[in-house]
Structures are given as C-alpha cells and as structure tokens.
Amino acid sequence: VNDDDDLDRRIRDSLTTWAQSIEAEPDLDALAARRPQRPWDHRGARVLGIAAAILLLAAAFSALQGPDPETGVSTGPDERSKVPTTETDPRGRAPDTTTTTSISSTTSTTAGTTPNSPSTLGPTVPSEEPEPPPGPTPPATEPDGNASPPTSGPDQGGPPDPTDCVTNEFQLMEVLWVDGDRLGLFVAGTDGSTQQVGITRHAADLPGCHRRVTDGSGQPFQFGLPVLVDRESQSQGFMCERPSFTVVYGRKMDDTTWEFEFRTFVVEGFQARLTNGYWTSISEPDQIERWRTITCPI
C-alpha cells in the first residue's frame, strides 16, 4: 500500500465484492415463523411463566410435606381436613386457598369452651375428648435445641376473645430459624407473650432467595415492624425477590385445645406484607367449624 487513496480503494473494492457475493431473499413467511407465536414466547412472559411454575412447584412441594417433627406444624394437606374456600368473612376477604393447610394439636380437643357463638368467629370445641390426632403438633421446641414450648397466650385458661386475635395478635414476629422448607418464627402478642410457630415457605428456593440460619436468640421484638430485614446487615431473616409464605400460628385455648391461624405474606423488598389470612380452631382435623379471614396489619 503506497498511499491512502489506494488503501481506500482496496477497502471499498473488498467490501463491495464481499457484499455483492451475498444474496438474500426477503421471506415474510420465515419472518413470521421467527415471530413469537404465543405470548409466552416473549422473554418477559417466559420469565414470569417460569417464576409462576416454580411457585406452583414449591407450593405443591410444601403441600406434600409431612408434619414438622419439631414444630408439629403440618405443611401438607391433611386428608381428614378440608379448608373451605368459598366462605368469606364479613369484610369480604376470601380465604387464602393457597394456605389450605390444616393443623392439629397433640393437646387439642376436649370438651371445651366455645368462645363465640356459631354465628361469630371462634372455635367450636367438640364435646368429647378425642385421641391425639396423628397430625402435626404445635411447636414445642426451638430447632436449635433450646426448649421453647409454646407459651400460653393471654387467653389461656379461659375462652379467648377472638377480637384479640384480630386486633392485637400477630403484630410482630421474628424469624428464628430456617430449616429446609420451614421457617421458625416468634410471634408475640401485645401483652408480650410469645409463641414459636412454624411457617410454610412457598418460595424459599426461588432463584435469588437468600436465607440463613439464625442463632435462635433473635432480636428484640419491635411492635408493628415486619420480620424480614436486611439480608446483609442482620443476622436473621431471609430475602427473596418476591416470596410468599404462610404463617401458622397456634394459640393455646386451654390445656387441651389449640387454635390456629394461617396467614399468607408476600415479601416486598425487605418487608413482609400481609396479604390475607384466616384463622380457625381445629379440635379435630375433620371438624373445622369455620374459617374467617382477617386483615390484621403487621
């Protein structure tokens, strides 16, 4: 190459020759074949579809789990119990069909009190003392081995006031441990009483989910604050992009009867937002009297 003009000419000749050797026919049919034919062919839709499929699989997996040997909380459906799916509470909130999990207590059911008339919310206790059901038991010990039986709630020894549940309970909780598909929580009432509960986690294995086992000591309760905290700066909690989980709360009604509540939370950022929930009293797994949605904010 002796000069710039010659170089430019050679470049042009080369590119032109190269380009002219290429023949391509426009083909609308081929273009249409490449066009996404279904909504889920779009990348965004595929991502959402995959996420939904993972959620469904996680939920199905959780539903198949047996009772937690430590918490006694069943994460799977009990064949003897059914959760009504059509009843709504007076506020019009439908029960969460994704949390159709029944829980029985080893200490449950005896001839007991019915805190409310059948027309109102509250458990109906059978008139005869049944055998301890084979199902899950309420949480009795912490997973780290520290004995932490469910302490009696403020209603122990007497008929509970369901409105306490609605208005005062579950305003705070704390993740204590993570074990497989379960999370351990502390739930405290406004009176300071606490209970360890187990929750079923639907989406903990989603990509991007971060979880860790805590030391079990937890942090001081703070009323009105959600449980999930900064994944990096705190020693507890877990972080998912958008998981949901169901909190199962057991309240000891009396020496032989437990009352359980189910709540579904959706994690948004570093907070858990209560989406819906309901509570019931289970004396026998197949004797669910009523379900009611509640809308307690946390």
Partner: protein, 175 residues
C-alpha cells in the same frame, strides 16, 4: 389482500392454505413494513455479513431487527435508521458474546480476487468498532457524524477508530 375496514395487509400464510395446518401463523404486516422489508432486507443482510462474517448469522440478526422494528412500528419515526441501528447493535452483541470465537473467514477458492480477500480477512480481524467504522465509512458511505450517531459514540472516537483501523489494515497489507 385487504382486510375489510382496514388497511391492506399481507398474511404470512398463503391464500388457500389451511390456517390450522400451516406452520407459520397468520401475521398481519403493515404494508409500509412489507415494502421496507422487501426493499432493505438484502442490503441489511449484506451489511450485517460485513460485520459478523457469517451470512447465516447476518440473516438471523436482520430478521430479528425487522421483528423488533415491527413491534415498535407505530413509534418509530425513521424505520430505516432504526433498522440499521438495530442490526448494528445486534452485531455488536454477537461480537461480545463470541469474542473468543472470532475467526477469520477462510479464503474463497476464487484466486482472481485474492487481493480483495486478503483485505476482507484483514477487515474481519479488526475490533468491532473499527470494523463497523470501516464498513460504515467505505461501504455505506456514511459521514463520520452519522457513524458516531449510529454507534453511539463521539465523532472524534469515530475518527480515531478509523485512523487506527486504516493503520492496521495498511500494516496488514504491507506484510
């Protein structure tokens, strides 16, 4: 083919084809889009081939570029410019993904154009920006300002890239 009450459209499925048995779905293409597609498809394939050295890849990218244009057809003011920019960006992405797989195209059997093939190989060996600048400058005959806009860089960057590319090509041809 004209749809009642609407602009004329083309269907990917030929007339008389059973839509249920056809592989390709029925797609309504705006007539202006079809016109642009038929007018610019081959040119875009050639342009993309000069950037990626593979006609098959070039056709894929060109089709993808047309599909992206079709999705934004109502919002694109300059479809031709949008098309070329999209093809360029797709080629750039291709280079990034396959940076370690860049290979020079084998010399064609026609020895009569050996000089041109050596230059082709040298151009194909340039980094993507330099290669794109050379193609846009000497094949598309675009001014540096337009090249800069297309590549999303400053005009000075285009000038320096072209200078380095020419120096490298000159060196390659001299060796």
């Amino acid at each position: 083919m004209t749809e009642p009450g609407g602009p004329p459209v083309l269907h990917a499925v030929p007339a008389g084809t059973d839509a249920d048995s056809a592989v390709a779905p029925t797609v309504e293409w705006p007539p202006e889009f079809v016109e642009l597609y038929q007018d610019r498809y081959e040119a875009m394939v050639r342009y993309a081939t000069l950037l990626v050295s593979s006609k098959e890849r070039a056709e894929e990218m060109t089709q993808e570029a047309f599909l992206q244009l079709h999705r934004k057809w109502d919002r694109v003011n300059n479809p031709r410019a949008y098309l070329r920019t999209t093809v360029t960006n797709l080629c750039r992405s291709h280079h990034r993904r396959h940076a370690l797989e860049v290979r020079r195209q084998p010399a064609p059997p026609d020895h009569a154009v050996l000089g041109a093939d050596e230059m082709r190989d040298a151009i194909a060996g340039l980094p993507f920006r330099q290669r794109a600048v050379v193609v846009l400058r000497f094949y598309e005959d675009l001014p540096e300002a337009e090249i800069a806009q297309l590549l999303g860089c400053a005009t000075g960057t285009v000038a320096s890239s072209l200078h380095r590319a020419l120096a490298r090509l000159r060196k390659e041809m001299a060796s």
